[in-house]
Each structure stands twice: as structure tokens, then as C-alpha cells.
């Protein structure tokens, strides 16, 4: 196990608000990478746009900070090209569940070997407080001053019915536990979806640190292979919010193994194909 300091940025300036739940996620990711024995050159963190999307800039690791909502296809392109890289994605709930919804659906279907981390503050942070898909019905936001008319989207349930390799919920207030979830995600040979309860001290005045602290409950004897139970846990919200690995489908990843990058650029031998087009005069 290597030291998480190798993942540290040169300085610790961030553009986050003091007290933001993202800080602990940043630490947890560094810890998990270290724990998994990875170096900054061997892991890639693909991020979106949003407060959470800035995360890779505050550590030292290969990074593709792509556009809003597109972490998953970008990550798939990387993983399919170079399976030797450990690929993680990080982004907000807006990024992952609104703009990126279709990619989530299909990433779950693909189940490539990657760890999908969603900093779920249940609000659009960077754009200043609009409702997100995980904002509960009635939540007031900039575009929904009378409260959003729709129920909150449940990413865990989706992960379960789509048979993701691993579905988990973490909490910014449980850094070690979270680091362990991320490490489990990294070590699961398939897609791990980790939705993280992340307080946003600036815009989410409902789901605060305290609100969560009073409610979260680390799973202890849960068998994550038990789908029925997993669905029940995924639906649990309110007074008692379960944390931990909710579900494991046991589905293995169809990620290929051959690295296309290390090979010399080795063009296809098209001559054989071209020969098929030669006109043979009769």
C-alpha cells in the first residue's frame, strides 16, 4: 500500500466553499488510490463540469476534465483503449443524472471496469442552487421557485435494476468508510456506482451535515448479493439512510484486456483487404 501523499496537489488551494462536502471526497479518493497500490500515472480521473468536476485539479493524477455530463463515454473511450489504466469518474448529480443520464443508463448496461463517483449534493452547486434530479419534490430552486414538481431520482435503484457490478452509497462525513467504498469500487471488475451524500453548505439547506449525521447508518450484516434486500435499502430514506455497499450483481466486465496504446502504431495490414478489390481480368 502506497502513500496517499503522492496524489497531493502542489498546493491546497481549491475553489470550493469552506465546509463543502467535496473536501472529504477528495481525501477519500486519494486514500483509495493509495490503498489500491496505484500511482498517479496509472490511474485516470475523468471529471465533468460542476463543483465536483473540479476535484481532479486538487490532486495529482491523470485527468480528463471533460464537459458537463460526459464523463462516462470519455471514460469508456479511455478504458477500451488502454485497459491497463484504472479509470474513475467524478462529477455532480447534475452532471451524472441530468445532463449525463443517457450515458449512465448505457454505462450501466456496458458494465465496463470503472468506478463512477457521484458527489450528490442534491443541487446544482456551481450554477448557484437550482434543483437537481436528486432534489426532493417540492425543493425550491432558482428555476423552480414554487418547488420542483417531480420526485427525486434514485440512482441506487437504477444501478441495481441495471445490474451494475457494485452499487454503494457513501457520505462525506465518513471519510474512511468512503475511501473503503472507493477502493472496493476500484477493485471490483466491473462498473461500481458510488453515490455520495455530499453536503453543500451554500445551497442545500435541507440535507446538511447535521441532517445526514442524524440519519446515516453504516450497513453491517447486509449481504450485497441479495437483490431484494438491496432494493429495499436503496429505497430507504428519511430517518434512516443506509451507507455502504448496497448491491453486488456479480456481473463481470466485458472490458477487453489488450492495451492499444503500448503497441507501436501498427496500422492494419490493409493490403490483404485491398487485394480483394483487385480486378482480375478474365
Amino acid at each position: 500500500m502506497s502513500d496517499s501523499k503522492q496524489f497531493a496537489a502542489r498546493d491546497d488551494a481549491t475553489a470550493w466553499c469552506p465546509g463543502c462536502g467535496d473536501f472529504a471526497i477528495l481525501e477519500a479518493i486519494k486514500m483509495a488510490l493509495a490503498e489500491s497500490g496505484l500511482s498517479p500515472s496509472k490511474a485516470v480521473l475523468v471529471s465533468g463540469i460542476g463543483q465536483a468536476g473540479k476535484l481532479p485539479h486538487y490532486m495529482r493524477v491523470n485527468t480528463f476534465n471533460t464537459i458537463h455530463g460526459r464523463t462516462l463515454p470519455t471514460a469508456a473511450g479511455i478504458k477500451l483503449s488502454n485497459p491497463e489504466l484504472t479509470v474513475l469518474t467524478v462529477g455532480g448529480d447534475g452532471d451524472g443524472y441530468a445532463e449525463g443520464g443517457n450515458h449512465l443508463l448505457h454505462a450501466l448496461r456496458r458494465n465496463l471496469d470503472m468506478t463512477v463517483i457521484v458527489c450528490d449534493n442534491r443541487v446544482f452547486g456551481l450554477t448557484k442552487g437550482q434543483a437537481s434530479p436528486t432534489s426532493e419534490k417540492g425543493r425550491v430552486g432558482g428555476i423552480t421557485p414554487a418547488g420542483t414538481a417531480y420526485p427525486d431520482f434514485n440512482p441506487l435503484l437504477l444501478g441495481i435494476v441495471m445490474e451494475a457490478a457494485l452499487v454503494a452509497r457513501g457520505f462525506s462525513g465518513e471519510k474512511e468508510h468512503l475511501a473503503d467504498l472507493v477502493a472496493q469500487g476500484i477493485n471490483t471488475p466491473g462498473l461500481a456506482l458510488i453515490d455520495i451524500l455530499q453536503p453543500c453548505v451554500s445551497f442545500n439547506k435541507v440535507n446538511t451535515w447535521q441532517w445526514y449525521r442524524q440519519r446515516v447508518d453504516k450497513l453491517e450484516d447486509h449481504q450485497p448479493e441479495d437483490r431484494e434486500k438491496a432494493m429495499e435499502l436503496a429505497r430507504q430514506w428519511g430517518d434512516n439512510i443506509p451507507l455502504g455497499v448496497i448491491y453486488k450483481s456479480g456481473r463481470t466486465s466485458p472490458t477487453p484486456t489488450e492495451n492499444l496504446v503500448t503497441a507501436e502504431l501498427n496500422p492494419a495490414d490493409v493490403d490483404k483487404l485491398l487485394d480483394q478489390y483487385r480486378v482480375n481480368q478474365t
Binding site: 475553489a15 500511482s39 498517479p40 500515472s41 496509472k42 485516470v44 475523468v46 463540469i49 473540479k54 481532479p56 485539479h57 495529482r60 493524477v61 491523470n62 485527468t63 480528463f64 476534465n65 471533460t66 464537459i67 460526459r70 462516462l72 463515454p73 470519455t74 471514460a75 469508456a76 473511450g77 479511455i78 478504458k79 477500451l80 483503449s81 488502454n82 491497463e84 489504466l85 443517457n102 450515458h103 443508463l105 448505457h106 477487453p256 489488450e258 492499444l260 496504446v261 503500448t262 503497441a263 502504431l265 501498427n266 496500422p267 492494419a268 495490414d269 490493409v270 493490403d271 483487404l273 485491398l274 478489390y277 483487385r278 480486378v279 482480375n280 481480368q281 478474365t282
Partner: protein
């Protein structure tokens, strides 16, 4: 001597199969060929055609008036019969009418020979007889194509072909074309095959795409040969995923592309701008079809030029290439990859349905002529800076995974290390760095291809598959003593401005384009090159040689 054969009928009647059999047979006899296709956006029924131009000289385009038209449905006879050349031979399944065609009930004749399904072999036999080729050669072709269906099928097809052949012999419609004496070495292939083969020869390793006519067959071709070629093919959930996957691959350090048509390209322009900012190479093929919107999904047009040039927000460098022929497609696509990697920026290859679906006999394609230029390589040091400012704007590349470097790519404005910045001077330095690459791209812009009169009264400037038509039209005019010159632009952005400026100096210039607004003329105007107007067509069909000649004569008056 040129002879034009149109096979028409419904989708599902096997026009493509029989067309391909005839093409192969005719090519084998040493003919030069050019075939194009028109079809509807449906799987069965409607009116499609497959048309083959046959000549002893190389061909670059179709002829609007077939000399032989065989209709496999009454409807298609109604629709296409009037296109027949003045002394042309029309054949159709009946009923007899006043248009003077011969009635051939191919289905009935095929039934007699074994099964109505072999009607197309009957038709092939007819065509074979008309062109005066030996029946056995056709039968050999059929045997090859249907071998996998078993001996009986082969025999029945041969029998059907013979029936058709004999029917035509009796009708005295033999045109006795004599094949060229010393035919050239040729390959016969389709536009999209050439694009795919070019990409594979260039070292393509990753392609992600969502199907869209007329680009789909590029992807399918590559997929069919991917395993042997070590290429990873991913069918994306949508075009946004397709291009972003390709960007992921490009970031990882492999040659990547996607292919689509205008509507899919529209979904890609946000990521195109990302590729510009993050400096990730990617090749995007846009096989054009008539818009706006879904438009005419299986027809041809060149309506996306200004869109691919300006698609994506903000200023960033890009190149736009557009092959004018099957042959050029094969060589231009590797160039697109070289430019994309060298300049770490998106390169767009514009084709269109006419080129995508056409077949031509070409000078054998030579993979040995393709050179591969990889990006400037950096040192994977711990302080590697992905966006190092350099004079030519090109930052040395290191793929992620290279110890002890970390590689940061980003679409936000950034510093040399790739981290987010907010200050003006760094922003300016990065814009200047990126746009310096546009200068490099301009400096090595491909030269225009010129043909015709050296001292012209008129220059016809064109691009894409329309080049084939203009090239023929200009050749015809020159042979009639008209001082006209044809100029084709394989690279549309950046333009080879100096060379182009010389070519159009002090002479009347018109563009010839398959779109409504004369987009090339508008692009040239933007670059300070004035044209007098455009010869245009926008009904979803390619321009025709006679209409180009007519319009040129008009202009020269």
C-alpha cells in the same frame, strides 16, 4: 464510348446484389466503371436504382441518361422510363405501354428456371447479352457469389441468367461493346470502403459511432475487419457518446474516429469544441445528406460545409478535408489522421451519399504511399506539462500511463499544466498557442487540383463528389474548344489561399455545388476570393454533366 445501364426496381429486389455482380463481371473484362445508387429511406418497396457507367476510359461520374434501363417493377418503369437516352433500350415487366419498352416478365421466367427469387439473375443475363459479353463469364460470377447457398442455388441462378441472356439475344438488342484491348490494372471499390480502408491504413485503433446513413457502412466495414486489424469498435448510445468516447481514446493516445451524417454531427459540436480546447486529436467523418433536419436521409447534398467549419462555440483550430473521388478518399483520410495528431485538434472529413455509395474502378490503391506522422512526443517527466507553450503551438504529447508523468486534459481555460485559470494573460497565451496551430495547418494546406485550359475564360471551382461531374464536364468542354478550367479543393479549411488566389486571378469564377446557398462561394468570399456566382442543385440528387455544361455556356455568353 460510354454505355450506361440502369437497373431499377423496389428496395428488396436485389438491385445491389445484381449490380455488384455485373460490376465485377464487367470489370473483369477490362472495362472502366462508375456506379451510383439512388434509393429511398425504406427497406422494401419504393423506387430505387443502381446505375453502371461502362467505358474504355476512366470515369468520374454518372450519366443521367441510361442507354439500357431494366425495370424490375412497373412503378419504377413509370418513374425512370423517361430518363432513357434517345435511342436507349427500355425493358420492364409490363403491362405494355406507349413508351416503347420491351416487356420482360423476369419473375415468371425465373420461376420457370426454378424460383421467382432469381428474377435478378434473369436481368443480369439480359444485361450481359446486351453488352455482348460471353454468358459463361456471368455464370462464373454467379457461381462465386452464390456458392455459399449450395449447388442447387448456383445451378438455378445460372439457368436463370441463361434464360435472360437468350431472351435478349432473340430481341436483337445486342450493342456489341468491345472491351478495351489493353486494360489498366484496376481496383473496383465503393466510396465508403475507401474511407474505411484509408482509416485502417492510417493506423486507426478505435472507432465509436451511432448508425446514420450514409456513414454507417464505413463503421460496418471497419467492424467486419476489426478483429484482424486490432481495432476496437464501439456502438455508442448516441452521437454525443460516440465522439466523447473517441476523445477518450485520443486522450489515451490511440488514433480514433467517429462517422456520422449532418444530424449526428450537430450533436457532436459541443465535443468538437472540447477537442479544440483540450487539444485532443479526433477525426470526424460527416457523410452529408440533404438537410435541414432529417431531410432526405438516403439522398445526396453538400449542405454542411459552413456548419462543419463553424460548428462548436468559440474559436479553435480545425481542418476540413473533402475527397472528390473514391481514390482520393483512400489517401485523404490518413492525411486527416496525421493532421489531427500533429496539431492535436479535430479534423473533419466531409463526404456525401453520392461518394459514399458509388463504386469506381481506380488505379490500384497503394498502402505504401501512406505515411504516418505521429504527434511530437514529450518526455514523461514528473513535471510534464500537457499544454506547454511552444512557438508552433504544438505541445509535446505523452500518453497517460507513462510514469512518472500525469497527463491533464481539460476544456476549461487552463495553464500549461492543465489547471484552471481565471486571469487574462494566461488566457491570451493559451488562445495564441492554440491558434498558432491554425497557422501551421494553413501553411501545409493541400493544393487545389487543376484540370482543363491553361488560359481559361472561366474557372469552375468545386469540392467533394461534385468534382467527378465537373471534371467530366470540363473535359467535354475543352474537347469542344471551350477555354474552361476545373479546380477541385481537397482541403476546404484552412484554404490554400495563395495558390487559390493565383488560380482565380483575373478570370471569371463560378463554384459548382450540390447545395442551395453556394456554401463554397460564401466561404471563398469570407477569405477574400470573389466569385461571380454558383452553379447549384439541391433536389437531393448529384449534378449532371449536361446541366453543368449548359450552365457554363450560359455564363460564357
Amino acid at each position: 464510348m460510354e454505355f450506361n445501364i440502369r437497373l431499377c426496381g423496389e428496395a428488396g429486389q436485389g438491385l445491389q446484389t445484381i449490380g455488384k455482380i455485373l460490376l465485377d463481371g464487367l470489370a473483369g473484362q477490362g472495362w472502366e466503371l462508375f456506379a451510383h445508387q439512388e434509393y429511398e429511406s425504406r427497406i422494401r418497396g419504393g423506387n430505387s436504382y443502381f446505375q453502371i457507367a461502362v467505358s474504355s476510359q476512366p470515369l468520374t461520374c454518372h450519366n443521367p441518361r441510361p442507354d439500357l434501363l431494366v425495370a424490375m417493377s412497373a412503378q419504377s418503369w413509370q418513374q425512370f422510363g423517361p430518363d432513357l437516352a434517345e435511342d436507349g433500350i427500355g425493358i420492364h415487366p409490363g403491362p405494355e405501354d406507349d413508351k416503347g419498352g420491351l416487356v420482360l416478365d423476369a419473375a415468371a421466367m425465373a420461376s420457370e428456371a426454378g424460383s421467382a427469387k432469381m428474377a435478378s439473375a434473369v436481368v443480369a443475363g439480359v444485361v450481359w447479352s446486351v453488352v455482348g459479353a460471353p454468358l459463361e463469364l456471368l455464370q462464373k460470377q454467379l457461381a462465386g457469389v452464390f456458392a455459399h447457398l449450395g449447388e442447387e442455388m448456383v445451378e438455378n441462378n445460372k439457368k436463370a441468367a441463361a434464360v435472360g441472356y437468350q431472351w435478349a439475344q432473340q430481341k436483337n438488342i445486342n450493342r456489341e461493346l468491345s472491351p478495351p484491348q489493353s486494360p489498366r490494372q484496376r481496383m473496383l471499390l465503393r466510396g465508403n470502403d475507401a474511407v474505411a480502408l484509408g482509416a485502417m491504413a492510417a493506423g486507426l485503433k478505435f472507432i465509436s459511432a451511432y448508425p446514420m446513413t450514409p456513414a454507417t457502412s464505413i463503421v460496418e466495414y471497419i467492424a467486419a475487419n476489426a478483429e484482424a486489424a486490432g481495432i476496437r469498435v464501439e456502438q455508442a448510445e448516441d452521437e454525443i457518446a460516440a465522439i466523447n468516447m473517441a476523445l477518450g481514446a485520443g486522450y489515451a493516445g490511440v488514433r480514433a474516429m467517429t462517422a456520422t451524417s449532418g444530424g449526428g454531427f450537430a450533436l457532436m459540436v459541443e465535443a468538437l469544441s472540447l477537442a479544440g480546447s483540450a487539444e485532443v486529436p479526433v477525426v470526424v467523418v460527416n457523410g452529408q445528406r440533404p438537410g435541414p433536419s432529417t431531410g432526405m436521409p438516403t439522398r445526396t447534398e453538400q449542405g454542411d460545409l459552413l456548419f462543419v467549419l463553424h460548428g462548436g462555440h468559440g474559436d479553435f483550430p480545425r481542418a476540413v478535408l473533402a475527397p472528390g473521388s473514391v481514390e482520393e478518399a483512400f489517401y485523404l483520410v490518413p492525411h486527416a489522421f496525421n493532421l489531427a495528431e500533429k496539431y492535436q485538434t479535430p479534423v473533419i472529413v466531409l463526404t456525401d451519399q453520392y461518394l459514399a455509395d458509388c463504386f469506381a474502378t481506380v488505379e490500384p490503391l497503394d498502402s505504401g504511399e501512406i505515411t504516418i506522422e505521429r504527434p511530437k512526443q514529450g518526455k514523461p517527466s514528473a513535471d510534464y506539462r500537457r499544454y506547454q507553450v511552444t512557438e508552433d503551438g504544438i505541445s509535446p504529447f505523452v500518453p497517460p500511463g507513462s510514469e512518472p508523468a500525469v497527463v491533464v486534459a481539460v476544456g476549461d481555460e487552463h495553464d500549461e499544466e492543465g489547471h484552471l485559470i481565471e486571469d487574462g494573460p494566461t488566457r491570451v497565451a493559451m488562445m495564441d498557442k492554440r491558434m498558432a496551430k491554425a497557422k501551421g495547418l494553413a501553411a501545409e494546406a493541400l493544393e487545389p487540383i487543376v484540370q482543363g485550359s491553361d488560359n481559361p475564360d472561366l474557372v469552375l471551382l468545386t469540392w467533394g463528389s461534385t468534382w467527378g461531374v465537373v471534371s467530366q464536364a470540363v473535359a467535354d468542354m475543352v474537347s469542344e474548344g471551350i477555354a474552361v478550367r476545373a479546380v477541385h479543393l481537397p482541403q476546404l479549411w484552412p484554404l490554400p489561399k495563395d495558390k487559390l488566389g493565383e488560380l482565380v486571378k483575373d478570370v471569371n469564377v463560378y463554384t459548382v455545388e450540390n447545395n442551395y446557398s453556394g456554401q463554397l462561394a460564401r466561404l471563398l468570399a469570407m477569405e477574400g476570393i470573389t466569385t461571380l456566382g454558383s452553379i447549384k442543385r439541391y433536389d437531393g440528387r448529384q449534378l449532371e454533366v449536361p446541366e453543368v455544361i449548359k450552365a457554363a455556356r450560359e455564363v460564357l455568353k
